[in-house]
């Protein structure tokens, strides 16, 4: 497809071909009385240097790179190898629009198939889709999928699921006559298994939880899966930090029926909160309820391997209001980046990366909790995020830290009453010992 705008000559030729005198004539069915007259209130065009100056002046207002950040909670600052930008910027990938016709898009479809394969390997499940918008909508789609499979209106959601993901779940389930029940966490920061038992009833479709959860605590997925299945419900697991899968057992192998989450950690920059990358995978038996596009492998008329979008009858352009979802897209370019990222790291690299995260976070946790007044809030096992409790409200501390150039952590008080003196702190492979030590020193200083 040519990206050069059409010339006056092209326009004239097209109009002649269809037997119309002017472009205006094509709008003749819109009554004169309601047609807009005059010019649209838009600024005029800018030259290339003016456009650059416009965006550069706005970009200069960003201060993120002037701070040392320990923020996470659903968006993670991992190192992105140069090869990801380089390959994903190729014209063949960046220029096409909705390239899914198998006749001309085998490269794109193959990448999607590889992405799906990687997600299946990481989650331990049979089928994955071509990606969703982000982790939040992934969680909402998983809830709705479980409801379609089991057809029971009661949906259990962990309160330790990312608060923004929960908000999106409420938005998606509003007005559908469904009952979303939040399950509390225990003093270890995990889903309370004993309390959970009584939350199930004959009208329950699913238990949905995040692991590691919003507090960074790793849930006991095997027992949760067994519990869910004993009550004839599904277990859906949300993963917002998939680097954890470099070390933790795949949720599918522990019994999860649906795994969804956020793959921003795999080669997607933080940006301004997006675009990010949702993913979803499920057991084979549920494939017809899986939302989103699915790429499949097949052979062409000459027996050569090829790729196509498949199982399209789940989707709304065919099944309309009975479709599995109204999503009719995926995050192809982000999925491409994630595929390049994962295939660059490989199995060994991802494991090493996970180890680095785990060890640095453990070092930081140790360092910070040896400061008088600072304590670890939850005893459950963690990966690269943890919650600390301080002797004063986090708001006051965080302001002082910011004045010293540190974004120390995410406030929890507004989402979790009782945790006003707590913060969620995230450590990745990008935090050198010096950086962690600097935070510890400043923290000690502002607490004096």
């Amino acid at each position: 497809m040519s990206y050069i705008p059409i010339s006056e000559k092209d326009k004239k030729e097209m109009l002649e071909r269809i037997g119309v005198n002017s472009v205006e004539e094509l709008f003749c069915c819109i009554p004169e009385t309601i047609r807009f007259r005059g010019k649209l209130n838009l600024p005029g065009p800018l030259s290339e240097p003016e456009i650059l100056e416009y965006f550069e002046s706005r970009a200069r207002k960003n201060s993120f790179d002037r701070y040392l950040s320990f923020l996470g909670g659903g968006a993670y600052d991992h190192f992105i190898p140069a090869v990801v930008d380089y390959l994903s910027s190729r014209g063949e990938f960046v220029s096409p629009y909705t390239p899914y016709q198998p006749e001309v898009s085998q490269g794109t479809l193959q990448v999607i198939f590889e992405f799906q394969t990687l997600i299946c390997q990481l989650t331990g499940l049979d089928i994955a889709n071509a990606s969703l918008y982000d982790g939040a909508t992934g969680a909402a789609e998983a809830i709705l999928m479980a409801y379609r499979v089991k057809n029971k209106k009661r949906l259990l959601v962990a309160s330790s699921l990312n608060p923004q993901y929960r908000q999106v779940i409420y938005t998606y389930t509003k007005n559908l006559g469904l009952e979303v029940v939040e399950i509390p966490y225990d003093e270890k920061g995990r889903l309370d298994l004993r309390g959970l038992e009584s939350a199930f009833n004959a009208e329950t479709s699913v238990l949905l939880c995040q692991s590691p959860n919003y507090f960074g605590v790793i849930e006991d997925l095997k027992n949760l899966a067994d519990l869910a299945h004993r009550h004839e419900t599904l277990l859906a697991v949300v993963i917002s930090e998939p680097v954890s899968l470099g070390l933790l057992e795949a949720p599918g192998r522990l019994g999860a029926d649906i795994v969804t989450g956020e793959a921003q950690s795999f080669g997607i920059p933080l940006s301004y909160g997006g675009p990010y990358l949702g993913f979803m995978a499920c057991k084979k038996e549920f494939v017809r309820q899986l939302p989103g596009r699915i790429a499949g492998q097949t052979v062409d008329a000459e027996g050569r391997r090829g790729f196509v979008l498949t199982l399209s009858t789940r989707e709304q352009h065919i099944r309309r209001e009975k479709a599995t979802s109204n999503i009719c897209t995926n995050q192809a370019h982000c999925a491409l980046r994630a595929t390049i990222y994962l295939e660059t790291l490989g199995r060994v690299g991802l494991k090493k990366l996970a180890w680095l995260n785990l060890q640095k976070a453990a070092y930081a946790l140790n360092r910070f909790t040896s400061i008088p007044g600072v304590s670890r809030k939850f005893g459950g096992p963690v990966f690269n995020e943890f919650v600390l409790e301080f002797p004063v409200p986090w708001e006051t501390l965080s302001q002082k830290l910011e004045e010293k150039g540190i974004l120390g952590g995410i406030a929890l008080g507004s989402d979790y009453p009782g945790l006003e003196r707590c913060a969620l702190i995230t450590v990745t492979e990008k935090h050198s010992r010096e950086k962690i030590d600097r935070y510890a020193e400043v923290l000690q200083e502002v607490l004096r």
Binding site: R288, S312, T313, I318, K322
Partner: protein, 128 residues
């Protein structure tokens, strides 16, 4: 082509009466229109249906069609062969490609359906 002893609906379902039980399927005309059938969504046994209510769907690669029950009744059996070989509907739509069996609620509803000769005229009209 269209068995004399069957009843037919405008939505291209056929019904064969076996005492109080109605065997249902879709007609040869329908299977030709759909093309290669790759999946059939069957109703659960025990489901109670009204006449014209959807009892399931038939899928080809690029389309999904509802199957409408020509009469009211209760599903007593479904053709489980269709799970592995949905193309039975293409190969033998009036025989091995049967979809469900219903216990009929009200036999007077059969009067609303066509017999073979009327159905053949009906589809001839559609093809023009």
């Amino acid at each position: 082509m269209y068995p004399d002893n069957f009843y037919y609906s405008k939505d291209h379902e056929w019904l064969k009466l076996e005492g109080e039980v109605a065997v249902l399927g879709i007609t040869d005309f329908a299977q030709k229109q759909l093309g290669d059938i790759i999946y059939v969504e069957l109703p659960p046994v025990g489901k109670v249906l009204d006449a014209h209510q959807s009892l399931g769907t038939v899928e080809s690669v690029k389309s999904v069609s509802d199957i409408y029950s020509p009469v009211s009744g209760e599903v007593i059996e479904v053709n489980s062969e269709l799970a592995q070989t949905p193309d039975l509907i293409n190969k033998d739509p009036h025989g091995q490609g049967w979809i469900a069996k219903l216990k009929i609620k009200d036999s007077s509803e059969l009067q609303n359906l066509m017999k073979a000769a009327d159905y053949e005229k009906y589809i001839e009209g559609l093809e023009h």
